[in-house]
């Protein structure tokens, strides 16, 4: 498997939290360049843990992940330069304005003022927040905040964007907006996207391939349509219940 074709390669990832919580029990998958890959699974399956390890927030107990061929264990500093991460439960500094926040983030990725302006313009376009970017973030609604955060993640034009439940807590309209943003951006820029979700519809719409994760293991993987065919189901949701149901019985 060449890392030029696969910007993300995850190998036998295990994570044991303090208190002997075995969150990941050997997870392996790879993401192709330019594709949108979705990790789906129920609450507590281990999606956030996996993404946090790839985003260098947590250290794996065993195994490794390569991002653009840099190991998250050996070279986390290099990994941080090629990724952009949106945590599941992220916020922003409420006493800064949207614009100030975007410049704050952009500053870590470039020293060039023109490049920074360009990033922030891009973010303004992605978020669609317009003049509200001049207001303090504490005046934003949840949907506006999430759009701002999606924009800050994508504007830096990362090699790999890692999005943990990008539409969590959003209403149908805002969620649809966010999905369109992600899909459009990934197509335009050819960015590799790794995201997590437990919304099957969202995943069917967005992802080229998905990995179904359950109790710390990947129990099925493939393009959504193919999985539906394989398991002789109506949709991904049914695939999921079939898989988990079989295991539980």
């Amino acid at each position: 498997m060449l890392s030029t074709d696969y910007p993300v390669i995850v190998k036998d990832l295990e994570k044991v939290y303090p208190g002997n919580v075995h969150a990941l029990k050997g997870i392996s998958f790879s993401v192709r360049r330019g594709e949108i890959y979705g990790l789906i699974g129920p609450n507590g399956a281990g999606k956030t843990t996996t993404l946090r390890i790839i985003a260098t927030i947590l250290e794996p107990t065993r195994g490794d992940a390569l991002v653009e061929s840099y190991s998250v264990v050996e070279e986390p500093d290099r990994v941080r330069r090629v990724i952009s991460y949106l945590p599941e439960d992220a916020g922003a500094y409420k006493y800064l304005t949207g614009l100030e926040f975007l410049y704050f983030i952009a500053g870590f990725y470039t020293d060039d003022q023109d490049r920074m302006d360009e990033m922030v313009r891009e973010a303004a376009r992605i978020s669609g927040l317009g003049d509200r970017l001049r207001d303090k973030i504490k005046t934003y609604s949840k949907g506006m905040l999430r759009r701002l955060l999606i924009a800050k993640t994508l504007m830096v034009n990362p090699r790999v964007a890692i999005l943990d439940e990008p539409t969590s807590g959003l209403d149908v309209i805002n969620a649809t907006k966010v999905r369109r943003i992600i899909k459009k951006y990934a197509e335009e820029k050819g960015v590799t996207v790794l995201l997590s979700s437990h919304n099957m519809l969202e995943v069917e719409y967005l992802c080229d391939r998905v990995g179904i994760i359950h109790e710390g293991r990947i129990i099925a993987e493939g393009p959504p349509r193919k999985l539906v065919e394989e398991y002789n189901a109506e949709n991904l949701e049914e695939v999921f219940t079939k898989l988990v149901g079989e295991e539980l019985v």
Binding site: P18, N43, G44, L86, I105, G107
Partner: protein, 434 residues
């Protein structure tokens, strides 16, 4: 230095815009000091006026019935006292109970005879303490003052009758005071003021340092917790930034705002205490200044430089501790509580240093004590005073070493996942359901 600059600017912007910080830093101290000032000035002023007021009501029990008692009466009236006569001690007590008289003077029989034959005489003085308050004590002391004035006047009358010169009688031996501050000679009439000046200089430093470090500990502890409360820590840790610079920027921002706070607080307190002393007594400030400059010339620039460096070490030590602890709490409120936990015991250590007398310890004990955190900084001036420079070096070095250890350790913790998985106050981990 990129990370440092970006984080510093962000920190300062957020802090200045955060109304909680403005309130804590400027409005609360202003109000507190204002109230304290009004209360103390009002009270001290009243005490001072009461003490200055001549005279008052006195009960006089005359058991002598001699010719000198009339002189006593006249002298007391001249000094502004009003007199009520009582025939016995019992009656005097009744009057004291029912009036607001300052006290009672009992002139025993034989008083006039003694004075006429140039023998010392006595007057019994009864004062009343009606309540436990400074005001009530001031009133009692006024009775004694009445007697001592009376006594002076009587002496004058007696001695001039016998032809002795007035000046000699008033002050047969006059004290000219001088203080030998180590080997510097300081001539003064007001020993208390000089000692007061010296002690204030020694005590004010620990106090200001504690206020400063309390402030900065709060701010730096909060600034890490704010990242968690604003849900930015995870984002921050995934950015391509230097973690050492992140910590350094946070410490710097806290130090800048903290110093501003100390300027406000420190300025207010200095003004507050100096105005108290001018109301209370007529302390001669030039004497205090002389005391301080004499102190400076003894301890010398090396001690002052040492003190300055050690203070920087101490502030960094407290900051590092505050940030380290705040890494493991979840929100701003617990961060503030935690920073309180560290500042209070450390404040106690600094205050212990005020009561330690280095001159009474042997050299090895001094060196040992100089290595105790917090106490070491408080002892630098006393060490400089006795000229123990090796202990000063140990104190300065140890305060820098403690700071270094704490900051190094904090940096280590921030670059591991412990920031994320460790909790100081353990909560039961539950599955999150949405």
């Amino acid at each position: 230095m990129k990370t440092f600059k970006i984080i510093l600017v962000k920190e300062l912007k957020s802090m200045i815009r955060d109304p909680k910080i403005i309130i804590a830093m400027i409005i609360v101290p202003l109000i507190l000091t204002g109230i304290m000032y009004a209360v103390m000035i009002g009270f001290m002023g009243q005490v001072a006026r009461e003490a200055e007021k001549k005279g008052g009501l006195l009960v006089l029990v005359d058991m002598d019935h001699g010719n000198w008692t009339n002189t006593v009466r006249e002298l007391l009236r001249e000094n502004g006292y009003r007199l009520i006569n009582a025939s016995s001690l019992d009656e005097a007590r009744r009057i004291l109970g029912s009036s607001n008289a300052l006290g009672a003077l009992v002139i025993p029989s034989g008083f006039s005879e003694n004075l006429s034959s140039l023998k010392p005489a006595h007057i019994s003085v009864y004062t009343v303490i009606r309540s436990i308050s400074i005001l009530s004590f001031t009133r009692s002391s006024k009775v004694l003052e009445a007697v001592s004035t009376l006594s002076r006047n009587l002496t004058l009358i007696v001695t001039t009758r016998h032809g002795l010169p007035r000046g000699f009688v008033e002050k047969p031996v006059d004290a000219r005071l001088a203080i030998l501050l180590k080997n510097k000679l300081l001539e003064t009439r007001d020993v208390e003021a000089v000692i007061g000046g010296l002690i204030t200089t020694v005590i004010i430093i620990p106090i200001l340092v504690m206020i400063l470090s309390g402030f900065i500990a709060q701010l730096s502890a909060t600034s890490m917790a704010v990242e968690k409360e604003e849900k930015m820590l995870e984002t921050l840790l995934s950015l391509p930034l230097s973690r050492t610079q992140l910590i350094a920027a946070k410490i710097t921002a806290a130090a800048i705002i903290g110093f501003l706070g100390v300027l406000v607080y420190g300025g207010l307190y200095i003004w507050f205490f100096s105005s108290l002393t001018t109301v209370g007594s007529s302390t001669n400030t030039s004497v205090v200044t002389a005391g301080i400059s004499a102190l400076y010339s003894i301890i010398g620039p090396y001690t002052i430089t040492g003190l300055f460096i050690a203070l920087i070490g101490l502030v960094l030590f407290i900051l590092g501790l505050a940030i380290l602890l705040s890494l493991f709490v979840e929100d701003v409120r617990s961060a503030q509580i935690v920073s309180g936990y560290i500042v209070f015991p450390l404040a106690i250590l600094v205050f212990i240093s005020i009561f330690i007398d280095p001159a009474s310890m042997n050299e090895s004990t001094r060196l040992l004590v100089a290595a105790i955190p917090m106490i070491n900084v408080g002892l630098i001036i006393p060490y400089g005073f006795i000229g123990d420079y090796s202990s000063i070096i140990v104190a300065v070095a140890s305060s820098l070493v403690y700071a270094g250890i704490v900051i190094w350790f904090t940096g280590r913790v921030v670059s591991t996942e412990k920031v994320f998985t460790m909790r100081l106050f353990k909560k039961k981990w539950r599955l999150r359901h949405r």
